[in-house]
Amino acid sequence: MRYSGLRVIKEALTGHKGWKPAWRDVAPQAQYDYIVIGGGGHGLATAYYLARNHGAKKVAVLEKGWIGGGNVGRNTTIVRSNYLLDGNEPFYEHSLKLWEGLEQDINYNAMISQRGILNLVHSDAQRDAFTRRGNAMILNGADADLLSTETIQKRYPFLNVHNARFPIKGGLAQHRGGTVRHDAVAWGYARAADQLGVDIIQNCEVTGFRIEGGKCLGVETSLGYIGGGKIASCVAGSSGRLMAKANMRLPIESHVLQAFVSEGLKPVLPGVITFGAGHFYCSQSDKGGLVFGGDLDGYNSYAQRGNLPVVEDVCEGAMAIFPMLGRVRLLRMWGGIMDMSMDGSPIIDRTHIKSLYFNGGWCYGGFKATPASGWCYAHLLATDTPHEFAKAYRFDRFEKGQMIDEKGVGNNPQLH
């Protein structure tokens, strides 16, 4: 079924009785060509691009819970391509371009809203760093715009530019950045993949791998054994847990990140704004709630909830730049488990076990990467060669000293 404006009107006039489930509910087959483990954004995108770009026929996505219940449905929905390093920027710019065409491609309204992202500058040194970053972005074909304090004050009159401790001295804007309705990304990819014949199997937890003679033949699941030509791990925060079943240790720690939503307000915040002197970022959803977040709680965690010190820190960040938020009430808060890698950058690579592939280490920037991650992972799976834009995302970069460390903080996952 194709969605269209006409269809919405027709259904509205006939009691909405004609809508069908957006994807099939199927039992697993005995053998697939490709098994993608994890029905988050990345797993679903991978399955979709395997079918769409590479004509793969027998593809399954195995999800232990329901699709969209992981980080893809928990993040603060920011998309952007404002990275500095060569290993990253072409990949994220490819992702942003894919976002721009996604809704037409999958015939699904993902509410992609390019209202821009503004990274605030609070010191001269920070302005130098952001200027360099902006230049790197432009060199890679992305857009970047260094704004003066005056322009910022005019565009965002509610910002406290004269804060005594953290005055706003300008900002780096990416006007093509913005937000995307995160659940719709999972649903849209699922529906599009399903239409190309991908089996999406929910409530199917992978509990082990069948490995013989150094080759992965399939997976043990809560629904029994399923054989696969190629097995693709794509479970984000659960990466360590899953790959331990293949006796692999990863350059990854799992940490909890919290997110917050306020009560609904009239439109007050155009686009995404990030505080440059603390860790705070904020946007306004179409429903009117302010969606914001800050730092990790800072210690290994598999509990999908956070602690109070970070709540306080995030609210302090908010008050430092948006004093107008002082009386806004918090509506909801939650946590998600992040796959924090040793250098803050992801991995899309083969493993030392034949036919077993790995995608993970997305830290808290993996939502924006969803389309490109699926695109490049599908390329790797189908052709056994890394995609041009993801060739730096290898396991062996750590031992080779080729870390992609945007922040320059070293092998300390909780600091990225």
Binding site: G240, R241, A244, R249, L250, P251, I252, E253, S254, G298, Y299, N300, S301, Y302, A303, N307, P309, M342, F398, E399, N411, N412, P413, Q414
Partner: protein
């Protein structure tokens, strides 16, 4: 979270800085034949368990001691707290 410091008693975890897996106490021998492989492992690979985890907490806002805390990463329940010094000594090291 409250960490029951062996010397100072119960302290708010916000006084501490988290320093990662306590396996970092066991620095490899740089003269070993396979020192390179061991250091790659030491520097970059982690067990990252869902369940009990031995980890280092540095009492930065307190007495500056390093602690080895055993905490369940699925519940945040702390089952043991020891001075990292004592742990290292019990493994036969001088400090």
């Amino acid at each position: 979270m409250i960490i029951n410091h062996p010397i100072l008693g119960p302290r708010d975890s916000a006084e501490f800085t988290y320093m990662g897996d306590a396996a970092l106490l066991d620095r490899p021998d740089w003269q070993a034949k396979d020192a390179l492989a061991q250091f790659i492992d030491y520097g970059y690979l982690r067990d990252n368990p869902a369940g009990p985890h031995q980890e280092l907490w540095y009492h930065e806002q307190g007495d500056r001691s390093f602690l080895v805390v055993t905490r369940d990463t699925t519940t945040h329940e702390i089952s043991s707290v020891k001075l990292a010094n004592d742990v290292a000594r019990s493994r036969g090291r001088s400090t």
